[in-house]
């Protein structure tokens, strides 16, 4: 999900007079983190781009979410609503670690304030439709003039160049356009959503964050920032292993593969006797040998039968049927146990309810529980990746709209209380 101008939606509640920021914890209360001292302005909406900020923030960067004073990020209204009128659950989780600062970039004074923030920041992230920043007088030449060291991540559906650059794009569209959605579903049947709708937002954010890290390295050598131009569809397309190479060389158009895969057999989802599902992935011959052993039919892995991937691919239907029959005759717990005893790659198709019960998720701390005033406990996914010396952290859930506007205007931009009041009255902040 990228794009879309910040919308002053008539129906949106007015958050223009937020509570004051709670006191910050002492800066030395935390161990040193890799991104400490880096200030990121997150001007993005939804997730494509903002997730890059989230990861950097988990590892110590200061994140200022810049939002429209009235509507804020539409992500605040995307997902399951909560008792906090400015926050869905998706917002609470994915706007983690941010401070919210409101500025109306459609007003000249807002633009000036924003440029002053740019002077004091290291990274800017935005995902408007290409051309929007320029309309506001905030094109790259202007930003670079304000801060030659600035690193500027632009995420959009189709990128900053090319004939489709002005089209609006969301991950859902990018999955389709980038070739992923076409592959999800049964052959000849309805293509389905590949798991979740915002996957491409995460992909593009990760590429964006990697670009930012590289640009920071370059800046340390050269002293200058640069622009990172990410198209969501490109991030999706980059995930598709050899699809381009095999079409280019052999003219092969990959089609939907149901629950299987073109590279290996058996490699798919199988229904158990108790009407649950397991995934089995025999990526190599050795893995199949182990499965044959788990099925107590080691002869299946002989070279005369299905010992080689080539033969299994040629006899895909038969091999799958053998596994379907075996799995279908046993309860899930039994399939898992037998497979795991033989070290077959196997896993439950976990629903979120399964995940909450899973001992491994618990042991790894993948579910982080945070108390949110007025809401009680909110459970969100923990930090990924895990670093041994400098583990990341989550300091707060998605903030109230404008919760840090005063603090930032006062402390970072040195405005007087009087000036801030005037800006507020005119709804510039």
């Amino acid at each position: 999900m990228s794009d879309e101008n910040i919308e002053a939606n008539d129906g949106a509640p007015d958050f223009s007079d937020p509570p004051q920021t709670p006191p910050r914890s002492a800066p030395d209360a935390e161990p040193k983190l890799p991104m400490q001292g880096i200030r990121v302005l997150d001007l993005g909406t939804f997730l494509a781009g903002p997730h890059a900020a989230s990861v950097l923030g988990e590892f110590g960067a200061e994140l200022l979410k810049i939002e429209h004073p009235i509507a804020g990020d539409p992500m605040r209204r995307f997902g399951t609503p909560t008792k906090r009128h400015d926050a869905t659950l998706a917002w609470l989780s994915e706007a983690r670690n941010r401070k919210s600062v409101t500025i109306d970039l459609r007003q000249q004074e807002g633009v000036q304030l924003f440029l002053r923030l740019i002077e004091k920041s290291d990274v800017l992230i935005e995902n408007f439709r290409p051309g929007t920043m320029e309309e506001w007088g905030l094109g790259w030449p202007r930003l670079r003039e304000a801060n030659p060291r600035l690193i500027y991540l632009q995420v959009s559906g189709y990128g900053q160049t090319g004939p489709y650059r002005r089209r609006s794009g969301f991950a859902h569209i990018a999955h389709a356009y980038g070739g992923l959605s076409y592959l999800a579903g049964f052959p000849g049947e309805t293509p389905v959503v590949p798991g979740t709708v915002p996957l491409g937002d995460y992909f593009s954010s990760l590429y964006g964050a990697i670009g930012i890290m590289m640009a920071l390295r370059h800046r340390e050598k050269i002293g200058r920032g640069q622009v990172i131009d990410i198209a969501i569809y490109e991030s999706v397309f980059r995930q598709l292993d050899e699809i381009a190479a095999s079409y280019g060389l052999f003219g092969k158009v990959r089609e939907r593969e149901g629950s299987g895969s073109f590279v290996a057999v058996p490699h798919g989802h199988f229904r158990t006797q108790d009407d649950k599902w397991v995934a089995i992935a025999c990526t190599t011959d050795k893995m199949f040998e182990r499965l044959a052993e788990a099925m107590e039919r080691p002869e299946l892995a002989s070279s005369a039968l299905y010992g080689q991937q080539r033969k299994r691919l040629a006899a895909r239907g038969e091999v799958n049927q053998i596994v379907i029959d075996w799995v279908g005759a046993l309860p899930r717990a039994e399939v898992l146990e037998r497979c795991l005893n033989c070290e077959v790659p196997v896993g439950k198709l976990n629903s979120i309810a399964d995940i909450f019960e899973d001992e491994h998720f618990q042991a790894r701390g993948n579910l982080v529980r945070l108390e949110e005033p007025g809401l009680g406990e909110v459970v969100i996914p923990g930090v990924v990746p895990t670093l041994s010396a400098t583990p990341g952290r989550i300091t707060n859930l998605g903030p109230a709209l404008g919760n840090a506007t005063y603090e930032i205007m006062r402390e970072l931009l040195d405005l007087s209380a009087e000036e801030i009041k005037h800006l507020r009255q005119r709804k510039i902040i």
Binding site: P34, F78, A184, D229, E234, E242, A244, H267, R271, I352
Partner: protein, 408 residues
Amino acid sequence: MTTPTHEENLPLSGIRVIDVATVIAGPYCAGILGEFGADVLKVEHPIGGDICRKYGTPTQRGDTLAWLSEARNKKSVTIDLHRREGVEVFKKLIEKADVLCENFRPGTLEKWGLPWETLHEINPGLIMLRVTGYGQTGPYKDRPGFARIAHAVGGIAYLSGMPKGTPVTPGSTTLGDYLTGLYGCLGVLMALRYREQTGIGQYIDAALYESVFRCTDELAPAYAMFGQVRERHGPTHNDFACPYGHFPTKEDGKWVAIACATDKLFARLAEAMGRPELASSSLYGDQKTRLENRHDVNEIVRDWCGSLTRDEVLKRCNATGAPAGPLNNIADIFGDRQFHARRNLVSMDVEDLGETVIVPNVIPRLSETPGRIRHLGPRLGEHTESILTDLLGMNADEIGELRKKRVI
């Protein structure tokens, strides 16, 4: 993105990466670092090498297209780590390395006498990416894992497919590998930054299932707070927005995706359909009403799409700025103007194959220091001799001896 950049100006020039990982996740991290200037040494078993060489469509050279594409820019050095002499050579490489990517099952490096403590002692600045199915800790750490299993365990396989139907592969079986490569790469880059500040290396513990689970938006908080278990949605996803899904056009097998995340976007779609009244407040103007009447709204969109060719649907949507796109297959992609304009497909000659292979170009796209692809996946052991000679200063006799003993 292959504009000439002086190698020494690339962000990772001077960084040496040892990639001893297999298939995609760990190697993909090394691949990205290599595109941006790192020197990547792929350390492989002398017989067979990385199993990625056999993963995918075989070429006449014996290794697969997946290998050619994803082992881009790497040098292949063969070392048998099951042998003591091999471990000694490997330790010398570690002394001269900045980053190590591995994806053995927990305990394997330890078994070879290469635990983190030893590696860290040999080279205190070393950064190690460890990729496994389940991570280095926790009750399942010893289980074998591939991306397919990670999709299942991490919760996205359960969500892919028709409601109550067989769960399907979420588009591609290796998504979780790429995702983990990305999170891992980010970890490596942050660890490099920390090392520059402190001189201290560290390791990154990346689990395939965790990368998948991290990308599930509000799946976890919604279950925790409201007990809501998300199920398979088929071609439409109307938990948060409507219309949001895949719709068939008049042409067989040609689908479009439409995503009206906000009211404004639905108004644009209504305009594209020539029925602006649908977006009025008395009809379906607000998200809440559309979600309550999702079947009716989807039906209206389905009827409209079904009456037009794909090109016509897209043309009308693009004219009003309604978010829509084709469900491209790879043939569509090869014919697409935007892919060409952005140079997303790059043709590389593979000399000893005598063919041109088309692979996805570098992402992310950096303005001052664009990455580059110098060559595709190397032959097994192609660079063993030059690396042992030039980097480790070994002489021809020593190398000959190791070769004879099949250590390299």
